[in-house]
């Protein structure tokens, strides 16, 4: 049997060592009494497991016969081709080379960050744990919340070089299997060298990658993820990233936060409304200032006219340049604050506050009222719970300001119209991005624009196309 011999030849220790040539981090040990070799990466195995499962048993053996017996135990998986052996070693396994067989044992346990609080999506009341980089930990965080065998996990590997683990999670009987199939297909079709983050992955599988708007919701909160799962959405976890994708997503989902549900419904409703107002403010307030001060002086109320004109009086630039300059400064500050360590970041805040606050006005660079409007729109943009959405809106804002500076209110309305038209054209996994507004699904509104009391939230969102739309029994 020359063919089998060839394969055996290829799966020899020598061959594996050849594969890992110049990998200084590879560890190999010999057990001469029993003629066994083990090969593994010490940084991706759990030391305790390694000692208990591999080192101790092997070193206690005296005869080759005993080794054969030991390897019959089920945790030792026999391997016949070298590709699997390499993959196993890379995945945190130990390859045991006996005289005539090769076995793999999984003792995966790399260094990992422990579960900590989320920094980008922190809430006041509610669970504070957040996903970490390890996908298995993340799945365990979700399984801990959903103790159901209906929670299914599909595994794929993405990245021709990196072979990153990607897991698709869905609830059988709740999630729409067409969506699952579509999503799985999209993920399997990705052909690239490496994907490093959930946010990056979502851009590979979006319906319209050129759009400014994120078409999948990303979160790093396990409580959000599990609530998305039970509402019929599909989660995509990617190893080495705390970012979890939830699909399909609608535009309005980005404006809800998990603590809407943990607080009283009145408060939750009020906060949601505040966020939609924040959306309008962040998109339009500065643009409105520009439009009004450069075109529509008629719109200014009498009592505000003099203060506004007075504050504009010393500014040498037309309002549109003034506004763009200030918005740009705010973006500089924000970006600088995000990059710097916290301690230095505070200094930036103070310096920036003085520069764009009092000093800019006193120097006659901008007007007071513009500062107020720029600051409120910056603050408003931070109110939006999803960082991706708020960043997108901040970028769009510049376009709207320019349009307002060129065509006044008409430009402003034109800009908003373009945004709305664009949003109407977007889809998420083929479902409308603007659902439940377009197409109109008034039943869903009570969990979109307001957060109705729980007894009223009987059904799952229409967008999820679930076969099981009733979430709970209506108590009232």
């Amino acid at each position: 049997m020359p063919k089998q011999q060839d394969q055996q030849e290829r799966l020899s220790l020598r061959h594996i060592l050849q594969e890992f040539e110049e990998c200084a981090d590879l560890t190999q040990r010999e057990f001469p009494e029993i003629g066994a070799y083990i090969v593994y990466f010490s940084h991706s195995v759990d030391n305790l497991l390694l000692i208990n499962q591999v080192l101790d048993p092997l070193s206690s053996l005296k005869r080759k016969k005993d080794l054969e017996q030991l390897l019959c135990e089920s945790q030792f998986v026999p391997v016949t081709d070298s590709k699997t052996a390499v993959k196993g070693i890379l995945g945190g396994g130990v390859a045991i080379f006996a005289a005539d067989s090769v076995h793999l044992i999984d003792v995966f346990g790399p260094e990992a960050r422990s579960v900590t609080e989320s920094e980008t999506e922190s809430i006041i009341a509610g669970p504070h744990d957040a996903f970490v980089e390890s996908a298995t930990t993340n799945i365990s965080l979700i399984r801990r919340r959903i103790r159901s065998s209906h929670l299914k996990v599909i595994h794929c590997a993405v990245g021709e070089v990196s072979k990153t683990d990607v897991y698709i999670l869905y609830m059988k009987d709740i999630a729409n299997l067409d969506y699952v199939k579509d999503l799985e297909g999209r993920i399997r079709r990705i052909e690239t060298d490496a994907i490093n983050d959930g946010g990056m992955l979502s851009q590979y599988i979006e319906d319209k990658p050129t759009s400014v708007f994120p078409q999948f919701l990303t979160t790093e909160r396990p409580d959000v993820s599990s609530s998305k799962l039970v509402s019929g959405k599909i989660l995509v976890l990617i190893d080495n990233s705390p970012t979890v994708i939830s699909a399909p997503a609608s535009f309005f989902e980005f404006f809800s936060s998990s603590d809407d549900y943990y607080e009283r419904w009145v408060l939750g409703t009020a906060l949601r409304l505040v966020r939609y107002v924040a959306l309008l403010i962040t998109l339009m307030l500065t643009a409105l200032y520009v439009a009004v001060t450069s075109f529509h002086y008629e719109m200014i109320p009498e009592s505000m006219l003099l203060t506004l004109a007075e504050s504009r009086n010393r500014v040498p630039f037309p309002p549109v340049y003034e506004a763009l300059m200030m918005e740009f400064t705010i973006e500089l500050l924000r970006e600088a604050g995000a990059r710097l360590p916290t301690k230095v970041g505070q200094t930036i805040g103070i310096v920036g506050g003085i520069v764009i606050g009092q000093a800019a006005v006193q120097a006659g660079l901008t007007s007071n009222i513009l500062i107020i409007s720029v600051a409120s729109s910056a603050i408003a943009s931070f109110v939006i719970p999803s960082y991706l959405m708020s960043a997108s809106l901040r970028v769009i804002r510049f376009g709207v300001i320019i349009l307002a500076g060129v065509w006044g209110n008409m430009g402003l309305v034109f800009g908003i119209a373009v945004i709305v038209i664009h949003l109407c054209g977007l889809s998420s996994l083929g479902s409308s991005y603007l659902i439940p507004v377009a197409p109109m699904r008034s039943r869903d509104w009570k969990d979109v624009f307001i957060r109705a009391p729980f007894f009223a939230l009987v059904t799952r969102p229409t967008q999820n196309q679930t076969s099981n739309p009733i979430r709970q029994k209506n108590r009232k």
Partner: protein
Amino acid sequence: MVKRIAAMLALVLLLTGCSTDQRILDRLGMVQTAAFDSTEGGKLLVTASIPVIDPNTEEHREILQAETDSVKEARLVFSRQTDLRVVSGQMRELLFGMDLAEKGLWKYVETQLRDPSVGFSVKLTIVDGKAGELLAAEHKPHADTGRYITHLLEKEASGNNIPATTLYEFSRDYNDDGIDVIAPIVSDGSDKVRVSGIALFAGDRMVMRVPVKEGLIFALCRGKLKRGEAALDLEGQSGKREVAVFSSVTSKRKVKVHRLPDGRFKVDLYVSLQGSVLDYTGQRTLKEEADRHELEKEVALSIEDKAEQLIRQMQQKKTDALGLGQYVRNSLSYKAWEDMDWREMYPEVEVKCHAKVKIKDYGKYM
């Protein structure tokens, strides 16, 4: 896609290349009040008050004057007098001199209505004397006379006694059948501006004035009052003058039209008034219900009396400022109304006023 974006950018640049419709706030001279007078030469004297924005100057406003033939021509003349671009989009007040009002205002009002930047809520006021002089005059505690007059009238109108007339109301009443225009009159009282009456128009000409004292009677006859204040003079039993001051006055009026056998119209004007008595200088003790009823009747009588007198004067001047014609019109077929010359019929109408007064309470004390 790239092509489309490029085309869009090009469009933006091309369309704005020669943009001239920008009106940057701090480069505008925003006329707050415009005053119109006729001059002896038959021309129009336009005075405009523009607030001065520069915080470094003592001046709060700039007065521009131009003697022209047309209203809008004045703006061109103004432009030559100031470094700002003169615009009328923030105008709040139009003042017309008495002589101009007597000649007719419609053509000036029409010009304003035609300008899209002039709002419908711009107030229109008649000035006893020369409007330009009043506007240019300094009224010490008030830095800006135009603004002062605007606020004065706003406040007065909210107390219901003197109606503030906006451009919208002027043009509506002017163009409507069966009602005539009214406007408040202000006059210069040396250091103060005073509201001094109501101007009643026939067509677009002012023909009569109602003094402030009778403003309340006029307001009661013209329509609803809400939360108004009223001081009513009564001829006391002993012939002595007595005053009853009412507050929180709400009133309603109802109009009924009958046709008399001789073809004339008879109009019954029902005025009902409710209020609490704040002050009463007469003999009666308001504690007694019977006394209060007597007072109610007395006040009602006095209102009826004065109202009928006022309406008679209006009939003589042929101004139907109460809008009685509208009720007559509504009682007729369209053809009958069209065939009738209301302005000629109006003086012949027999108007009877029926007043009903109710004293809700007489103050919170006791």
